[in-house]
């Protein structure tokens, strides 16, 4: 994986940026995330980011991440041109900034990602304002993403996908121990949204390429609560309801408990449950061709449960840095697909190690 000189210069600038302002703070994060499942997918994701407060009103950040994907999943072995397995590398770079004045904060971010058959450029502009003696924060942002979809081994295949996303949120201090947030997400996706490889099957054994609508409007409402049980124990609860114009609906609920028994150790456990309905045009197999057809299990009805734990340890003096945290996370997920007979259950295991340095 090659990073351009622009990316390296940006990261170097952020590492050096403390010299530009008074009493700056900079945090650098390195993480390695490993995903495995019982459908022969392995994804290794090294990720690093730097966030620096250049001055009391200006902060800058950047990140670089790489997904190294190795797959021999059901989707891959039943693709239009079965190849048995593949290895793909996806690289993402991004930068962000935030400028604060009075009770207002303006922020912007850009992101670029590329892989063998997909290229994506995204930009976000946002504004937030603190109200009611900083007891309320209202935020609004807009993102635009332009994606080019290709197909490995077919240079003539070139499709476009655009997305427009608006996020709005209201965060409220409820009392001295409780914080609540309500958020709304609205998005319009226009363009090629099928998989260039995925096939659907007919009852007579024939197969045909997946075909989904070019237009998709997506909406979500989120309610989040944080509550301090004491000065060292915390509860979190999230709920999201989602629906879109393809007929998909979902409910997601997550509850977490975290504790920091002393200055140098903290831990967290959580459980996330999720349930979705099927897209209007989804079927495991079709009796006859239809305008829209998908046998993608992510468009099928399913439930899932994820149980996870995380610990973080303050390393103390480490290579001359005093503020260094190491963390380790493990999540075990289970999905049950009630209308996908090729693999009704998927087990997923995520492990993540990280280092967070402040200077």
């Amino acid at each position: 994986v090659q990073l351009s000189s622009k990316h390296l210069l940006l990261l170097a600038f952020l590492f050096l940026s403390p010299s530009l302002g008074a009493e700056p703070t900079t945090r650098a994060v390195v993480k390695v995330n490993a995903y495995l499942d019982n459908d022969n997918n392995q994804i290794l994701t090294p990720h690093t980011s730097v966030q620096s407060t250049v001055s009391p009103s200006l902060s800058l950040g950047a990140h670089v991440g790489v997904d190294v994907v190795s797959s021999a999943s059901i989707d891959v072995i039943s693709a239009a041109t079965p190849i048995g397995s593949f290895i793909d590398i996806r690289t993402e770079t991004g930068a962000n900034m935030a400028y604060s004045f009075s009770d207002w904060t303006l922020n912007g971010a850009g992101r670029f990602s590329t892989e063998d058959d997909f290229r994506s450029v995204s930009g976000t502009l946002g504004v937030s304002r603190e109200l009611a003696q900083k007891n309320t924060t209202a935020a609004l942002s807009y993102s635009f993403t332009d994606s080019d979809v290709g197909r490995v081994g077919d240079d003539t295949f070139n499709e476009d996908l655009d997305s427009h996303v608006v996020n709005a949120s209201l965060t409220q201090v409820v009392n001295q121990k409780t914080l609540a947030q309500i958020a709304v997400y609205a998005a319009v996706f226009v363009g090629f949204q099928s998989s260039p490889y995925r096939m659907v099957r007919f009852n007579n054994g024939a197969a045909s390429p997946e075909q989904v609508p070019d237009d998709r409007q997506r909406y979500a409402g989120v309610l989040r609560v944080k509550h301090a049980l004491s000065s060292s124990s915390f509860l979190g609860a999230d709920y999201r309801f989602y629906f879109d114009t393809w007929g998909l609906q979902s409910h997601m609920a997550e509850i977490s408990f975290s504790q920091q028994p002393n200055k140098s150790f903290k831990w967290r456990v959580r459980n996330r449950i999720y349930r979705q309905s099927a897209a209007d045009f989804y079927a495991g197999t079709y009796a006859a061709p239809q305008k829209f057809m998908s046998s993608d299990r992510e468009h099928s009805p399913f439930i899932s449960d994820t149980l996870g734990g995380k610990i973080a340890v303050l390393a103390g003096d480490f290579w001359g840095f005093e503020d260094v945290w190491f963390d380790l996370k493990a999540d075990l997920g289970w999905q049950h697909f009630s209308d996908f007979d090729r693999q009704p259950n998927r087990l997923m295991w995520v492990t993540e190690i990280g280092m967070n340095v402040g200077f």
């Binding site: 993480k31 993402e92 900083k134 996020n167 001295q176 944080k226 915390f234 979902s250 992510e298 990280g354």
Partner: protein, 73 residues
């Protein structure tokens, strides 16, 4: 119609909650100032996590996150 009913329910619940809010002064924020009381205590973890869910679920949004890609695997 059901979708809008759920949305209205969330909004109504939030409205009721806001009615019960207190004005908390800066010197009363000992608990609220803890990193664990932010909605994105570990931003990088959140980005990686939402990216995984985007690939593995048919629905997205409202919880931050990032990344693109075809999710063909």
């Amino acid at each position: 119609m059901r979708a809008f009913s759920y949305s209205l329910f969330i909004l109504a619940l939030s409205g009721i909650g806001l009615q019960a809010c207190q004005t908390v002064r800066p010197w009363q924020r000992e608990h609220l100032a803890k990193p664990q009381m932010t909605f994105q205590e570990d931003k990088d973890e959140g980005i990686l996590e939402q990216h995984t869910y985007e690939y593995r679920e048919g629905t997205i949004g409202g919880l931050g996150g990032g990344g693109g890609g075809c999710g063909c695997n």
